[in-house]
Symmetry: C2
């Protein structure tokens, strides 16, 4: 090998510092934007306060949770693992906090920028998303690399760093599940009274739950999604490094490679982000601080790739601009990671593995888009089904959601198969093949900085629309924010496909790491406890989804009662002469979301530990496989059915089947409402379930025996 | 061992002859009942003709399919297997034909008997169900035992008899999938135009699709359910015998035991059936042909156990009568099978295994009832959710369906675990444990004669209600048939739980037989092709359900167009002065159901063969495990959500939340309509998918190698 592990890790550390520098610079840039007029600022402030109140309370609960779990880990396992656990939790929470902090300030600035033009609005909103994306990548990378260097770069001490992944998973659990319940409780609650009972439009400032609804977009889709992918990103690198360390001779190169690929991904993601938010006038700015002209020429060269978006840009144009940024980053990663593979001295096949991961990620995103976009047949079939009422709309939507699982599963299955095959051909062992699967996961997630930017941009645009509506900005501004919002809905759907696909690869890699760590020699599927384990595992996603869906129902019901109460007791509220009490609704959403996440959250942590002890470590592996396979399917089905219902409604709103207010539209609204907890609460929460159960097993791997029922 | 295999098989053969004698006697008895007045007979004739037309066309398609597959088996495997395949298909088709033949004649006789009293109606309907139940058991048993004896009782030739199971599975595929599509297409189509557009009640003779709807109840719930359980019953016995044959020393006893347990089940089922349809006046009849008084005394003794049902019997009373019959049969089996175990000379633990199977079957049925009965909280929660509209009704129903998977999965997982443990403790090998799992499946299904009777009775009662309505029988008759129909709905839900639970145990046993037959030595879950296999397997139930749900949608749409057309072109139809053209609707349902079942049906046969060849025999085992676990969950979720929605609607119709016609009721109707394809098409079809894929793999086991991608 040409490059030592430590050198690779140091390169990754340096790149994470570059990422953090970008985050800080970009944060200043977004905050320097015009925050709009007084009314806009006032609305934005309410959202900021609501988001901050939620995060503070959430982080207090998480703090208690982290303290308890860290103590248990320190007592039963190692202190080092406990420290890594705390660091992982803090890094993820920090990235989430920063992303939210900017998002709830970028929303109003996006609305103000949209007054000037479509591209200006896109730049601010996407710039905010880029902060989330790059924070996740950089915070994860700096945390892991520093810990790794503290442990002297000793691959044998990698086991401590699994604690980092567990910490990240814990934050993801609370952020995704709690955030998911919050956002849909507020959304459904606001709609049920506002739109249905009172007949006032969405985002109407008279609705007491409107601020909670806007806060929800941020806590669910910015902080929740960020924490979810922070977990996948960290988990895939940890799994690859752990599996690499067990590969014998070349282990030093194998451990370093995932860090190198991640480092390469930081550079590529920055380039991808630049392709959207780069501005031509900056070329002259660059001249001022660079005398030799190299940077100027580089900037001139790069600026050719910046997306050109004019006022007449269609949804397709906007989508293409974002897609180009992800593709551009992917191509750059392919080129740079070839160097990484060559410098590491590992077999060329591992470069093909990274290619497999990148292609798989993009292919899943594309398949997701096909099934959820209203320009395509599946969603149009749901639109057609609205003609015969709500029941056929639901049946068709569920059928589309189920059908949409086929490609993501086939893509993932073949990505796993080819990765194992490539690894096996390179180094002759199945262990090398499993390392390759983990590396494919790292490859898939290497573009995360920019893919997450395209995703976390959505809620900012959504909020901007709400603020434009509430503050009565001119019609053309609302049109622009609507265009940006539609774009956000599409990227949200593809982002969910990417999140679940990467969750499966990460979980699989972590499972392989668990099997290694638990010293399991044979995982015979017909072993005595294996099939019970698989069945119970397959049941977990159903139980988890049932709990989260019921939680949304309960929490939404509380919001409905409060909104009704306010309309009854506050005179002049309906007439717009009095102001609603937004804070109470924010408080109720916060309380109920945090309360309702406890049970499903605890199950995800407790069940693997109980099964590992009672049925033994082999059954636990079976449990994880069951949860992974069944959860993958259910998550894709729920996310895509939800996305397709949402877009079928939007399609009808463009005038199909009678347009807004028709019977078809009413049926479509039923579909959309059913889809809300599907796509924003239960579906995405399953990503966490899959990964968290696996990483809990990995962390506690050494404590499991052959179970109480000895055969 | 005290009893040779051949002796056990001969006993089973004799008992199957007793069962067939009962079937013939009981058929004559039912057909001798009063067939009602002329109008009733006319309506019943239309249903008979429709059912017969469907079956004839279905059997023609099946005939072609069976001929092709038999040829392939004869060419690539053995001629003996092909013969067994044809025999299995004919036995299942024969049982289905007989069951349907009686059911479509018992419906009108039930309506006529209900004019005389509630118990009279129950007796005729249940008597018809008993014919279906006992035909399934007897035809399966006679087929297998005769084939086994032809092969000289040589356990090594048991592999041919797997063909019998494949033949049964093929019929089940067409009967369940085709029948399921038929019944819901007709039901939804009739309702969408009749109830929704024209505002005429259910079962109104003016509706051109009303006959098709009534035919559908029979082809779906009598022939479909019967073929489904015929497959489970045959499969579990074949799997147990095959696994027993591989157990070495005691193999002769192990092979014979499942046949003995089945034989014991025939006797016990007959007793259970007697507990419902026995009549006191027969005691005197018995005296005439028995001089020594033994039979008289026996009859006097037994008649104490016959259910007493008076006119004021509540749903609980009726339910108890049916439950007592299943419990009575179960207790009898426990006693008799203890003799069977002792006579076979196998370890006492195997008797406990049979106990585990019986308890598991009853426990799953009980759990199903809890989640789908409107006297319990889960269904009432759906009722409450109707207050806030269709969307919350759907969300709550799906959540209940998901939650309802917990107990069936835990019960099945522990039944598997304890069976393996008991077998392992008895004979010291995991192979003995897997044999025990198969035996538990045989134990669970040993009561099939009577459990299927409680199930196949439902559509007869449902039809009777339709005939009473259409022929204008007095109000009290309709009340009685309604009571019998409600009872049928509850037993249908528990029957579905039983069907899926037994399908999983059977499939698991067949999987173990496959692994043995394919000479797979290690089924390492982290093997190169295993996880891709599991993921693709887990996807199959989703693809299958999507196809069947869309099929119902398409077929229902064709019915809707035809019913609308008839109302437009036939003058006087709405006024009741002209008659609709029932036959065209029957023809459309038949055509579309048979057309739409081809694709999902082919997938179930083709995918295992393709995966077995391309990815190899280990990946195929992974595929089967994936399909089994994911399909189990999805099937239970769909069946129970559908049942709960149905009953939530019925609960509201008793006057809750505003009763019939209220907004809550409208929301409940949406839930019920979504639930229709869930519980009657897609959900039950998954049982077939799980078993068929496994038995196809077993039959072709020897033809699979290590796959094209060699590692």
């Amino acid at each position: 090998m040409l490059l030592q592990t430590s050198a690779s890790v140091v390169i990754a550390l340096l790149m994470s510092l570059v990422g953090i520098a970008f985050v800080l610079w970009q944060t200043r840039r977004v905050l320097a934007e015009d925050p709009g007029n007084e009314l806009m600022r006032k609305i934005a402030l309410a959202i900021q306060e609501g988001a901050s109140a939620f995060l503070q309370r959430e982080y207090r609960i998480i703090g208690i949770f982290v303290a308890i779990v860290a103590t248990i880990i320190a007592m039963y396992l190692q202190v080092q693992t406990a420290v890594c656990f705390v660091v992982g939790a803090c890094a993820s929470a920090g990235a989430g906090y920063l992303g939210m902090y900017v998002a709830v300030r970028a929303n109003v600035r996006t609305a103000a920028a949209a007054s000037r033009g479509l591209h200006q609005g896109l730049r601010v909103a996407f710039g905010s998303g880029a902060i989330m994306g790059m924070s996740v990548v950089s915070f994860s990378l700096i945390g892991m690399t520093v810990l790794f260097l503290i442990f002297n770069g000793d691959p044998n001490q990698l086991t401590y760093i699994t604690g980092f992944g567990f910490g990240a998973s814990s934050i993801a659990l609370f952020a995704r599940v709690g955030g998911g319940i919050y956002t849909k409780a507020a959304d459904v609650g606001a709609d049920l009274v506002g739109k249905v009972e009172k007949g006032i439009p969405e985002d109407d400032p008279r609705n007491p739950a409107v601020i909670a609804d806007n806060v929800g977009d941020n806590v669910g889709d910015v902080a929740g999604m960020g924490a979810d992918l922070f977990e996948s990103y960290s988990g895939s690198i940890i799994a690859a490094a752990t599996l690499g360390a067990a590969l014998g001779n070349d282990s030093v190169a194998f451990v370093g490679l995932p860090f190198l690929v991640a480092a390469v991904g930081v550079v590529a993601s920055l380039f991808g982000i630049y392709m959207v938010i780069g501005e031509e006038q900056e070329v002259t700015q660059a001249e001022t601080f660079n005398s030799n002209g190299l940077l100027i020429r580089a900037h001139h060269f790069l600026s050719k790739y910046v997306a050109k978006i004019d006022e007449k840009a269609s949804l397709e144009d906007l989508l293409l601009a974002l897609r180009r940024s992800v593709w551009g980053a992917s191509v750059l990663i392919l080129g740079l990671s070839l160097f990484a593979v060559l410098l590491s001295g590992v077999h060329f096949n591992y470069w093909l593995v990274i290619l497999v991961g990148l292609i798989a990620g993009n292919a899943i995103a594309y398949a997701t888009e096909y099934f959820t976009s209203y320009t395509e047949k599946p969603t149009q079939a749901i639109g057609k089904a609205t003609e015969t009422g709500a029941a056929t709309t639901i049946i068709q939507g569920l059928a589309v959601g189920m059908m949409s699982t086929v490609f993501p599963v086939l893509i993932t299955a073949f990505a796993i198969l080819f990765s194992i095959w490539l690894g096996f051909k390179a180094d002759g062992t199945i262990a090398a093949g499993l390392y390759a699967v983990a590396l494919a996961g790292v490859g898939m997630l290497s573009t995360l900085g920019v893919t997450l930017a395209t995703d976390a941009y959505g809620p900012v645009a959504d909020n901007a629309g709400g603020i434009a509506e509430m503050s009565g900005l001119p019609h053309e501004v609302r049109n622009r924010t609507d265009a940006l919002d539609s774009l956000g809905n599409t990227t949200a759907a593809t982002g969910k496909g990417f999140a679940i696909g990467s969750a499966v690869l990460t979980a699989l890699a972590l499972l392989a790491a668990y099997v290694t760590a638990a010293k399991i020699t044979s995982l015979d599927m017909l072993g005595p406890t294996m099939l019970p384990g698989i069945l119970i595992g397959a049941m977990m996603p159903y139980l988890f989804s049932a709990l989260t869906m019921m939680a949304v129902g309960k929490a939404a019901h509380e919001i409905v009662l409060e909104v009704r109460r306010q309309f009854n007791v506050i005179p002049g509220l309906m007439e717009g002469t009095a102001e609603p009490d937004y804070k109470t609704c924010v408080g109720i959403s916060t309380e109920s979301a945090l309360r309702e996440m406890i049970l499903p959250g605890s199950l995800a942590v407790v069940v693997p530990i109980v099964v590992g002890h009672v049925l033994g470590k082999e059954a636990l592996a079976g449990l994880l496989v069951g949860t992974m396979s069944s959860g993958f399917l259910l998550a894709v089905m729920m996310a895509n059915a939800g996305g397709a219902w949402d877009n079928a409604k939007k399609w009808i709103e463009t005038g199909e089947y009678g347009g807004k207010g028709s019977d078809a539209h009413k049926a479509a609204v039923v579909g959309d409402t059913v889809g809300d907890p599907f796509k924003d609460t239960s579906g995405p929460s399953l990503n966490i379930l899959i990964k968290l159960m696996t990483i809990v097993s990995l962390v506690f791997a050494t404590s499991f025996g052959s179970g109480w029922l000895s055969f």
